[in-house]
C-alpha cells in the first residue's frame, strides 16, 4: 500500500542526518575514552559522581564512557580535551572474526547500530580508519545474501528468529524485502483490490464522547 509517512533514514557517511531518529539513537551509544586534561566541575555529567569528591573536577587521564554525540563535540586535534579509543568490536580481533565469517556474528548484541556507529568513528583521526571502513563494507556485503534470502522467502511466518541477529540498518532492509514479498503475495491472492484500513489509522480505537470531557 502506498506509504503516507516516510521516516528519514540514517546518514551512513561521516555526517549523520540531523532529522533521522535512527541516527539520534545511534549517537547515544557510548565510546571508551580518557580525559586528556582537567575537566572542572564535570564529574556529575560524565558519570563519575561517586569518584573523587562529589560534583568536582575530573582528573587528567581518568577513563570515561562518553556518548558519541559528546565525543564528536569535544573532539579537537588542537585542544586536547578527550581522547577516544575504539570500542572492541571495531578492533583488530573482531575485524578478523568479521572477515572470517560475517554471518555468525550477532550484530544486534554488539551495539544495534554497527554500521552507523562505525561510520561515525571514522570522524576521529585514527590510523586504523581505512581498515575499519573496509571491514564495515565487507561485513555488509557478506551478510547481504542472507538478509535477501530470508526476507524474500519468509511469508507469513514468525520472523523474530531471523531478525534477532541483525542490526538496525539490516532490519530496515529486511522490512523492505518482506514488504515486497507481502505485496506480491497479497496481490496474487486477490486482496490487493480490497479496501483495507490504513496502517496509520488502524490503532485509533473508538473513543467515546464522554471520555473526552474533563
Amino acid at each position: 500500500m502506498a506509504e503516507a509517512y516516510f521516516p528519514v533514514g540514517p546518514g551512513l557517511g561521516p555526517e549523520e542526518n540531523f532529522l533521522s531518529l535512527d541516527d539520534i539513537l545511534m549517537s547515544q551509544e557510548k565510546l571508551p575514552g580518557r580525559a586528556e586534561s582537567n575537566l572542572p566541575r564535570l564529574a556529575f555529567a560524565l558519570g563519575q559522581g561517586s569518584g573523587a569528591g562529589s560534583g568536582d573536577s575530573i582528573p587528567e587521564g581518568s577513563k570515561l564512557e562518553i556518548p558519541m554525540w559528546l565525543a564528536k563535540g569535544l573532539h579537537d586535534s588542537k585542544r586536547r580535551l578527550i581522547s577516544v579509543e575504539l570500542p572492541k568490536i571495531y578492533k583488530e580481533a573482531w575485524r578478523t572474526v568479521f572477515s572470517a565469517d560475517a554471518n555468525v556474528v550477532d550484530l544486534h548484541k554488539m551495539g544495534p547500530y554497527y554500521y552507523g556507529f562505525g561510520s561515525q568513528l571514522l570522524n576521529f583521526d585514527n590510523p586504523e580508519n581505512p581498515e575499519i571502513a573496509q571491514c564495515i563494507l565487507q561485513t555488509f556485503i557478506n551478510r547481504f545474501r542472507r538478509i535477501m534470502d530470508s526476507s524474500q522467502n519468509a511469508y507469513n511466518e514468525d520472523t523474530s528468529s531471523l531478525v534477532a541477529r541483525l542490526d538496525e540498518l539490516e532490519r530496515a532492509l529486511f522490512q523492505a524485502g518482506q514488504k515486497g514479498l507481502n505485496d506480491f503475495q497479497c496481490w496474487e491472492k486477490g486482496q490487493a483490490s480490497q479496501i483495507t484500513v490504513s496502517s496509520l489509522v488502524q490503532n485509533y480505537g473508538k473513543r467515546k464522547f464522554t471520555e473526552m470531557d474533563g
Binding site: L137, R145, F184
Partner: protein, 185 residues
C-alpha cells in the same frame, strides 16, 4: 510500483474472445474496438475481456502460450539457462493470474498451468537473487539483465535499491574525507 499497478498496465494486452452479442465498432481514445458479432473471434484488451466475461457476454480463448506443453518447455528452458530466457509475454504473471481467476472454465488444465507458471516464476526469482548477490559481492557499478518482467523487478526492487544505497554510502567512507568542516572556537 505496486503489483496492482503492474496488473493495470498488463490489462492493455490483447486477448482473443468470442462474444455472444453484437455491437458496432466502438471508438475509444486508445483505439478502436472492432465490431462484435456473436460467434466470431475478435481481439480486445484484457480489461474489456474480463469485464465482458464477468457479465457472461463472451468466451475467452487462452493465448497461444498458455498451454501445458509450451509452458513445460519454457520452464525447462528456464531451468537450463543461467540467464533469463525471453518470456512469451512481458506480463505473463499478471495475465496468468487474471485469466485463471476469471476465466478458468475457458482454459483447459488451469491448475497445471498455474503450477507451471509458478515454477517458472520461482526459477526466475532465484536467478535474480543470485545475480543480485554476485553484483553486490563484486561491487560492480553496472549490471544488465535482459528479459526481466515488470513484476519481478517490483518484487525485489525496493530491497535492492536500498541495499545498494547503503553500500554506496559505506563505500564513500573508504575515501578519506577531503574537506573537514570544523568550527574553531
Amino acid at each position: 510500483m505496486e503489483p496492482a499497478e503492474a496488473e493495470f498496465l498488463a490489462e492493455k494486452e490483447l486477448v482473443t474472445i468470442v462474444p455472444s452479442f453484437s455491437m458496432d465498432r466502438v471508438h475509444l481514445i486508445g483505439g478502436d474496438l472492432g465490431p462484435f458479432n456473436p460467434g466470431l473471434p475478435v481481439e480486445v484488451p484484457v480489461w474489456l475481456a474480463i469485464n465482458l466475461k464477468q457479465r457472461q457476454k463472451c468466451r475467452l480463448i487462452p493465448p497461444a502460450w498458455m498451454d501445458v506443453e509450451k509452458l513445460e518447455e519454457i520452464r525447462d528452458q528456464e531451468r537450463k539457462e543461467d540467464t533469463f530466457t525471453p518470456m512469451p509475454s512481458p506480463y505473463y504473471m499478471e495475465l496468468t493470474k487474471l485469466l485463471l481467476n476469471y476465466a478458468s472454465d475457458n482454459i483447459p488444465k488451469a491448475d497445471e498451468i498455474r503450477t507451471l507458471v509458478k515454477d517458472t516464476w520461482d526459477t526466475r526469482m532465484a536467478k535474480l537473487r543470485l545475480s543480485a548477490d554476485s553484483f553486490v559481492r563484486q561491487q560492480e557499478a553496472h549490471a544488465k539483465l535482459d528479459n526481466l518482467t515488470l513484476m519481478e523487478i517490483n518484487t525485489i526492487g525496493t530491497f535492492l535499491t536500498q541495499a545498494l544505497d547503503h553500500m554506496y554510502k559505506l563505500r564513500t567512507n573508504l575515501q578519506p574525507s577531503g574537506s573537514a568542516e570544523s568550527q574553531d572556537f
